[in-house]
């Protein structure tokens, strides 16, 4: 089975930089994820949204990469949000406590509203 390498596109919504992720978040994803995060960070918004709509697999190394993004966001006083996670990965974000440190929203619209009111 071929690994679906992560592809990330960055776009700007009002006050929010969005990372649209497609593929698998695993050890192969480090460079794509960090490069895209740096691009999003440079857009100088207070909030960065991780859109997991195109992601069908996250392993423990991928969790570690997301922890790394969260640490960067905290260091630069930015808010990190997540949306479009499957129910299974919402559970994993809960048991790892990632969802204690980044709001997990069901879809992009909810996330953009969340970003605009806080």
């Amino acid at each position: 089975m071929a690994v679906r390498h992560l592809n990330v596109e960055v776009r700007l919504e009002p006050n929010v930089a969005v990372l649209d992720m497609m593929g698998e978040i695993n050890g192969f994803a480090e460079e794509a994820l960090n490069t895209a995060y740096a691009e999003a960070d440079a857009k100088d918004t207070k909030t960065i949204l991780l859109n997991f709509e195109g992601v069908d697999y996250i392993n423990s190394t991928g969790i570690a990469l997301i922890v790394g993004l969260l640490a960067k966001a905290r260091a630069s006083h930015k808010r990190l949000l997540a949306c479009n996670l499957s129910d299974h990965y919402v559970e994993i974000f809960q048991i790892t406590r990632l969802s204690d440190f980044m709001s997990v929203l069901p879809d992009e619209q909810s996330a953009l509203i969340e970003a605009s009111v806080s």
């Binding site: 690994v3 423990s60 994993i92």
Partner: protein
């Protein structure tokens, strides 16, 4: 990957659903988890329970490929899936020696965000969170991690 063998009934009422191996190459944990999911398709393990099993299998296989076999492709990870009337078992065996290697430290996200712990080290934590029980054995030639799910009288072979 070797082909999964057809199911056979054991005298002790434990039914082997699949036996297969995957080369220790990055990304093959997905092959393992999808093959296990196919092997248990006739059991009543669906939805979130199936996703939890798949995550546990993927993480245990990754650990076996990385720490047991050092990602040597010629060193396979062996996977045996069996079920009794009350229990599903997935045994994942590598060619490592000594105690199986897992990050011993319980992951603490706050400590990781503060740089006091490595961001890595979620594998064992995820496995334990996803299955009902887990057993780890090892000798000088192999490590085996057994993942256990309690069933509610689903496997045909156990009655």
């Amino acid at each position: 990957m070797t082909n999964p063998k057809p199911a056979r009934a054991d005298a002790d009422l434990k039914r082997t659903l699949a036996e297969f191996s995957v080369p220790s190459e990055r990304g093959n944990e997905r092959l393992a988890m999808d093959t296990v999911a196919e092997a248990v398709k006739d059991l009543d393990i669906h939805g979130e329970n199936l996703e939890r099993l798949k995550t546990a299998v993927a993480e245990a296989t990754m650990n076996a490929m990385e720490h047991g076999n050092n990602y040597r492709a010629e060193s396979p990870v062996l996977i045996e899936v069996s079920a009794s009337y009350t229990q599903l078992s997935v045994k994942i065996t590598d060619e490592g020696s000594g105690p199986p290697a897992f990050h011993a430290e319980t992951p603490d996200l706050e400590a990781k965000l503060e740089g006091m712990q490595t961001p890595l080290g979620w594998g064992l934590f995820l496995i334990k969170s996803m299955v009902d029980d887990m057993d780890v054995t090892g000798d000088e030639h192999h490590h085996t991690v057994e993942l256990i799910l309690h069933l509610d009288g689903q496997a045909e072979g156990g009655k």
